[in-house]
């Protein structure tokens, strides 16, 4: 069933789609606007203790000795603990997955034992009555270190002269090769072969709210309640249970407001596991909130790829083959439980993704280094795959002297070719590359913009236009993690309850990170049940309350959680009509629910307010037929099954001006046309895209975790690590094509990755388009003024 099933109401009525497709403001934003949200750090608990961590100052060193004597005497200190002490309460983990064949990683402890493998790894924990007292005591810990060689460079790691974990044999965490066959032949036959090597800077999420966890162990019942700024409460419930040896049902994870996540808050962090263990050890609540400086050293980083790509095409402009060689470094451990092999894997899966060539070969190595760990961050692998694909495509177009838009049109998979299997093996249900391309060119007035660019070049004003076509993984099935053995749910559930007053409570396993999940669930629920939105309350983020589910990641909230809400809403409506039919002694088929009342389907005459239905259902069921039981709470679940992923597609364009004297790039405008299936709330969808685009722009122009040769991070603060701020950002024009997925009744696909996936490639191509008449080209992100001036030969 697909979009034909909409509008969301009983067949035969004249209602519209309800709130689906409307730009309704998010009800849950009101408290945040008054500073009355409840972020984890805002919670107040009796006997709350605070933990601060003693972190390794070295990238790689043996911990010879830790002396806690002075720290223990410091005012307010409750206890000081090393890795061995915490390990008695928290077992180590190994982050591998069965479907990533050959992936390996050593056991990792909550607090390092014997050896620190990156600068910033927690090596001891101080618990005190206040955070500042804990930090004071951290400064009094005395340590003796034996520095070990630090493997910092990816190539050196791959060469393996020094092996970080000798028991693993080499520094390769994971490697993958893919070959459709016929690639060498395609390159031999090609009229044009282009090859370039692209560099992608290591960067990080910089959530405005640092990672935050408050663990509250109850020794009386051996239970643990964890208030956690996380994207995946049920996954964390399972992990706390298994690693702290507490029955799963006795672990409750509660996620209140979260101050930005973007993939940063979906992983298992050693310091957070230690916090939970310390609560068990001390039998009192313990809180950890990462401050900004330790966030840079301990939040996952991402990207850091070096990729060589070759493209073969005919002189008529037909792409024949892609050949890829990707090297990426992930730090000393694969991150639990999702592993750090996924980003590289995605690069292999997605490179060349929008195009119809049949030959593809890829080689990818994921190596260990002595830097902070990397893992899945917003758009995982997409920004790399899109940028390198789109850059080499532009390079080929340049070689052929063909307009980049025209070259893409020739090669994009036709809109009538679906379902379609891409050479990497991924399957597309239905994409709309040609429609989005045309809409983009119309929206941005591409032809006129090219003329303007030409005119300004004569005045030595160097502007560039960059395009980036993309495909994005959304609505992941169990193929993403579950099949590999990870206890990460691909299904989600929603419970809807009609309250006695006629209001509707929605409880869903997908969490709210600010993207508007709760808002769209209210829209879907109101539409499906037949009530106005002010009658709906949404609860998420509590494993003790909501159905079981995966949470928020990989753009799955709307498509999977939303479908569960829709199905639960329809079921509740049906149950409500059963009661109404019994009360009114009418045929159920004659009745419908609209605007908070049961109405007669044909006349739309109001028959029964829902408050009355609720009153009878709960307080006077004795008035209903003897064999009738009212069911005013229903739960439904949804798992995408038909495709491994529900791919979306889109295209972005960037318009920039480069100053060849300063190397500065001015972003003039940005466009994104996206096909995310059914759009539930156009405003929220556009805001997801805009925020994502700006995150992608950060990667393209500003953001990089810089490391020295000794493995020290050089810019681990917000003064030196640049993030996009309001002044430099352009206005971003969004547009949509709607191709609903036929796998669900709602038809929604995900939209969280799109902006971040395509923006770096679009900006890169725009800069290189601007630089082309000057004979310069830049291939390594971020495109700092220094790199641009170097490409122009203006600095050495």
């Amino acid at each position: 069933m697909g979009k034909a099933e909409l509008p969301l109401h009983a067949p035969g009525t004249q209602l519209d789609r309800g709130y689906i497709g409307q730009s309704v403001p998010r009800p849950n934003a009101q408290r945040l606007l008054q500073g009355r949200g409840a972020f984890t750090d805002d919670l107040r608990f009796p006997r709350l203790a605070h933990v601060a961590f003693f972190r390794s100052p070295y990238a790689h060193a043996k911990i010879r000795k830790l002396d806690f004597r002075h720290a223990l005497k410091s005012p307010g200190v409750v206890g000081v603990f090393d890795g061995r002490a915490v390990a008695e309460y928290c077992t180590p983990w190994v982050a591998v997955l069965g479907h990533l064949k050959g992936i390996k990683s050593p056991p990792q402890h909550a607090i390092a034992i014997e050896r620190a493998c990156w600068q910033g790894e927690a090596c001891a924990a101080v618990v005190a009555e206040s955070r500042s007292q804990a930090e004071d005591a951290v400064g009094l810990i005395e340590a003796e270190w034996e520095e070990l060689p630090a493997v910092v460079d990816m190539q050196e790691a791959l060469a393996g002269k020094y092996v970080i974990h000798p028991e693993l044999g080499d520094n390769v965490c994971f490697k993958r090769e893919l070959d459709t066959g016929g690639v060498d032949e395609a390159f031999a036959q090609a009229d044009v072969v282009v090859e370039e090597t692209y560099g992608f800077g290591r960067h990080t999420g910089v959530c405005n709210e640092g990672r935050a966890i408050l663990a509250d162990y109850n020794a009386g019942e051996h239970s643990l309640t964890v208030y956690h700024a996380t994207q995946a409460p049920h996954m964390m419930q399972d992990i706390f249970s298994r690693h702290l040896n507490i029955p799963e049902a006795s672990v409750r994870v509660i996620t209140k407001d979260v101050g930005g996540s973007f993939g940063i808050k979906v992983h298992v962090y050693p310091d957070e596991m230690a916090t939970a263990a310390l609560s068990v050890m001390l039998r009192r609540p313990v809180k950890f909130v990462a401050d900004r400086l330790e966030s840079f050293l301990s939040d996952i980083h991402a990207r850091e790829h070096k990729v060589t790509v070759r493209l073969a095409c005919t002189k008529a402009g037909e792409i024949l083959a892609f050949d890829l060689d990707d090297l990426t470094a992930i730090g000393p451990y694969s991150v639990y439980p999702r592993t750090s092999g996924i980003e590289g894997n995605q690069v292999v899966n997605l490179t060349g993704g929008p195009y119809k060539h049949q030959k593809y070969r890829a080689k990818m190595n994921v190596v260990f280094t002595n830097k902070n760990v990397t893992c899945q961050y917003r758009a995982v692998g997409h920004p790399i795959a899109v940028a390198l694909t789109e850059a080499i495509v532009d390079r080929a177009a340049l070689e052929l002297k063909m307009d980049p838009a025209e070259f893409r049109r020739k090669n994009l998979i036709p809109d009538d070719a679906y379902p379609y299997t891409f050479p990497s093996g991924i399957k597309f249900e239905q994409l709309s590359h040609h429609q989005v391309l045309q809409k983009l060119l119309d929206t941005m007035k591409y032809g006129e913009l090219r003329k303007e660019q030409e005119r300004l070049r004569a005045k030595r004003i160097w502007r560039g236009i960059g395009l980036a076509a993309m495909i994005e993984v959304t609505n992941p099935s169990p193929a993403f993690y579950g099949v590999g053995g990870a206890r990460i749910s691909a299904q989600d559930g929603a419970t809807l309850r009609l309250e006695p007053t006629g209001m509707v409570t929605v409880m869903c396993s997908v969490t709210e990170q600010g993207q508007g999940t709760e808002g769209i669930f209210a829209q879907i629920a109101a539409s499906a049940v037949g009530v106005t939105m002010d009658k709906v309350r949404v609860i998420t983020g509590d494993t003790g309350v909501t159905p079981y589910g995966g949470g928020t990641w990989a753009s799955r909230g709307a498509g999977i959680g939303g479908e569960a809400v829709l199905q639960a809403g329809r079921a509740l409506r049906s149950n409500m009509l059963d009661i109404a039919a019994a009360m009114l002694k009418l045929d159920k088929a004659e009745l419908d629910v609209r605007d908070n009342a049961v109405v007669h389907k044909l006349t739309q005459e109001e028959k029964l307010p829902l408050a009355e239905l609720g009153r009878v259902g709960y307080f006077r069921p004795d008035t209903l037929p003897m064999d009738f039981q009212a069911e005013l709470t229903v739960t439904r679940h949804y798992t995408p099954r038909q495709y491994g992923f529900t791919f979306t597609n889109g295209i972005q364009a960037s318009y920039v001006e480069v100053d060849p004297d300063t190397g500065f790039v001015k972003l003039l405008k940005h466009w994104c046309i996206e096909d995310a299936g059914t759009v539930i709330n156009p405003m929220l969808v556009d805001e997801q895209i805009r925020g994502g685009v700006v995150q992608g722009i950060g990667a393209a122009l500003f953001e990089e975790c810089l490391y020295g040769p000794d493995g020290q991070m050089l810019n681990a603060n917000m003064a030196d690590y640049l993030v996009p701020m309001a002044l430099e950002m352009p206005d971003i024009v969004c547009g949509h094509i709607e191709t609903p997925t036929k796998q669900s009744q709602l038809g929604a696909k995900g939209v969280g990755e799109a902006g971040t996936a395509g923006a770096p490639g679009a900006v890169m191509n725009a800069i290189n388009d601007a630089l082309a008449p000057l004979g310069a080209r830049v291939l390594t992100m971020p495109f700092t003024p220094e790199r641009i001036l170097r490409a122009l030969g203006k600095v050495a």
Binding site: P25, L32, G35, G514, M683, E687, R690, N717, A726, D731
Partner: protein, 157 residues
Amino acid sequence: MDETLDTTLNVNGTQVTRRIPARMNLVDFLRDELDLTGSHVGCEHGVCGACTVRVDGEIVRGCLMLAVQANGCKVETIEGLSDSGELKKLQKAFHDKNALQCGFCTPGMLLAAQDLLKHNPKPDREQIRAHLSGNYCRCTGYQAIVDAIEEVANGKG
């Protein structure tokens, strides 16, 4: 290390006195001593603007000012400015335009925006962007925030 000082200030119209460590930041004082948790701690080194509060009518970074420096001052936070209704138009425009996602930067963003409108009631987009350049938002990409402030400036809020 923990020298304490008696400090008296007016917070959102209420006179408060506390004996506090000299090293305590104003934002920590508001959050931890007064439980006014609407002002957020984002970077603690004056870059992100999440801790923006108003002291004697001017916006300051709560992480760069010591609480004892506010002795005798009038401090206003998001809670007080919400209750007084001063931010009402901006809050409505932010809501209508979805100029917030996670909401962590929002209190600081609203105070910075109100400060702009106080000094320049008719700013253009460039001036709005410039005035917000000390307030970090990772979620929105800023455009909706600029739109919301522009709407209030144009009298539509």
